[in-house]
Symmetry: C2
Subunit: 421 residues, 2 copies
Amino acid sequence: MAIASAQQEVIEKAKAARLAAREMGVLPTSAKDRALLAMAQALIGRQHFVLEANSADVRAARDAGLSEALIDRLLLSEKRIAGMAAGLREVAGLPDPVGEVIEGWRRPNGLQIFKVRVPLGVVGMIYESRPNVTVDAAGLCIKAGNAVILRGGSEALQSNVALVRVIAEAAHGAGVPKGALQLIETAERAAAQQLMRLNEHVDVLIPRGGEGLIRAVVDNATVPVIETGVGNCHVYVDEFADLEMAERIVINAKCQRPGVCNACETLLVHQAVAPEFLRGVGPLLVEQGVELRGCPRTREIVPGAHEATEQDWRTEYLDLILAVRVVDSFEQALAHIADYGTRHSEAIVTRDYERAQRFVELVDAAAVYVNASTRFTDGGEFGLGAEIGISTQKLHARGPMGLRELTTYKYIVRGAGQIRS
Amino acid sequence: MAIASAQQEVIEKAKAARLAAREMGVLPTSAKDRALLAMAQALIGRQHFVLEANSADVRAARDAGLSEALIDRLLLSEKRIAGMAAGLREVAGLPDPVGEVIEGWRRPNGLQIFKVRVPLGVVGMIYESRPNVTVDAAGLCIKAGNAVILRGGSEALQSNVALVRVIAEAAHGAGVPKGALQLIETAERAAAQQLMRLNEHVDVLIPRGGEGLIRAVVDNATVPVIETGVGNCHVYVDEFADLEMAERIVINAKCQRPGVCNACETLLVHQAVAPEFLRGVGPLLVEQGVELRGCPRTREIVPGAHEATEQDWRTEYLDLILAVRVVDSFEQALAHIADYGTRHSEAIVTRDYERAQRFVELVDAAAVYVNASTRFTDGGEFGLGAEIGISTQKLHARGPMGLRELTTYKYIVRGAGQIRS
């Protein structure tokens, strides 16, 4: 019964979202921006309602013995709510992607063809514990003219229910059709399973969270998925690197915010500069609290480093741990990245022109850097505005996904009675 | 054992394709074009070898009692081989999409960001009986810098083996890496199943064929899929239509080539013009051999029409059958298309400016037409060059997919030591 009613909830909400999406696609920019500003205002005005619901989630999480790190992700505060509201206002300020004529031309038979940017339609978001994703995703989807169905983590359910009540009411009051912003409120797994297979009503799924969540969505969905997030990123310090620059970049890429997908997880160092470079950077990293896990040559140079196993080359630590490998050659660095990388962000530090050129050509990743930290792979840092995630697949969108990546296009063809001969 | 060895064949070929894809991505345009021309020449030069293999397939198909329509799809001739070769030469003449700088800008911190078009990597094609798809797909994938793994229908296996031997040898001789062009040679279903779940080695799957094939791929694949093809297309004749123009368009959209996905399957007519229009067009369609299946109002006007059932509104006949419905209003036409359409190609015939505007805005389809036949949804007719299929999903590509749609992009970021603060 619980499963059947969970499935029923999803089907009904998805049908309502599909209907709302038809209206959303033609909603004027001014109405969408008004809705975003109203949502921001409502979040601030009704923050005590939201914080109370959040307290219940946090209490339940403590009772269930969740780790402090998880509880911190779940926790809302006045400051965090203000951050969400600021995010909505930022999205209101971004240009509307819908309606852009991407290209247009006339055919010899007089047909006029326009390739026009339109919303995706209904976006399904499946994510984990951070309640800010609820508000960020809602804001971006609405601005891009989509309806959105949100499915957050069960630990954050009360918070998400409160957040969606507040922002959906505000959005509707400002002219967004009912049904455009939906939260799946059952904690049953059957609900997520149903959402993943509703091809008739859902146009795309965007999972956001850990590797397990993303894998489960990719394995089970029949709705098209945009994979996000897993970043096993490398910095390769070439034999021709400026070693001081390399030091700054490695420390930044590893330590500036280790828990995110564009942080560096493995350092590759050319053997010609390994002794000098690792003797310098090793102690600096340890000073920052980084645990080093090295190949045998690394451990000769930095005796404090632990032994790296095959598993270390594959691991996205999301933590102050760094795998370190000394490579024989530029080619071995490329091969290591091809074998172990997740096609997220990869960097080379070099002063050699040809090495830089070959690295950006040959490395297959969403973002390939020369002489800069991998930490820049981010919608804001790229200048694209707020992002809904970072795609690590090749279909549709790659790297930071902002408003434009939440759209598709259609061809509009204007004729004067043309038929095909 | 057969299943295990089928899976093994797929894994080995996919690994080889992944390795070849790295080289393909940086292959110069001149080498790719030379390969395409060599493939064309080899097809002509070795056509007797191909025709002999095809005869074996055709004999087996006759023995198995396949329909003449299916045998015609399977059958090769000197003329058809010449057509394939001409297709390869046409692709050689198209511009290379790889390397295009789609956008580029400089950030305030001096980082230079380039969004550059790159190949998808490894493309898996799963298709049915037409052997020309083998050659067309190989040519397009190679020109776009991809490796391709082909999985054709079992009826065409001998033909495909011969075709791939001829074109792969020619391509390799012209500098295309071994492994870039692979055919799965086992008829085991397990091979296709394996191909659909090899996310590590395959970047995208493109199924081409009937609804059953496409549904099986969407349901079973974990590799991202581009859905192609199913077209339940409508022509809506508005109350303000030029009825002579409407007549030409309806007849063209239904009869010019009924077996293809952009042919019209349902005619919607506004009640205000239904008597006049249907009395005129009905007999003309019947004259062309079309069977009409109408709603009650249609059958009052055209007594010869059969009764349409709910199923008729949903059916892609791919045949000389046309469902006909008289609608009360423009809005009812929109609702019918939203409910039954497959988002392929939809047309309105009208002289009214606002109706035309609202139709192209509100109808959700890859191609939306005003006063032209749906039959133009085609890479060649759009001026995009040869196509690998027509996408009916919203992710990545919509409508005709040519060379550009067989690519993705990556961000190349050039710095001077920038770190994130």
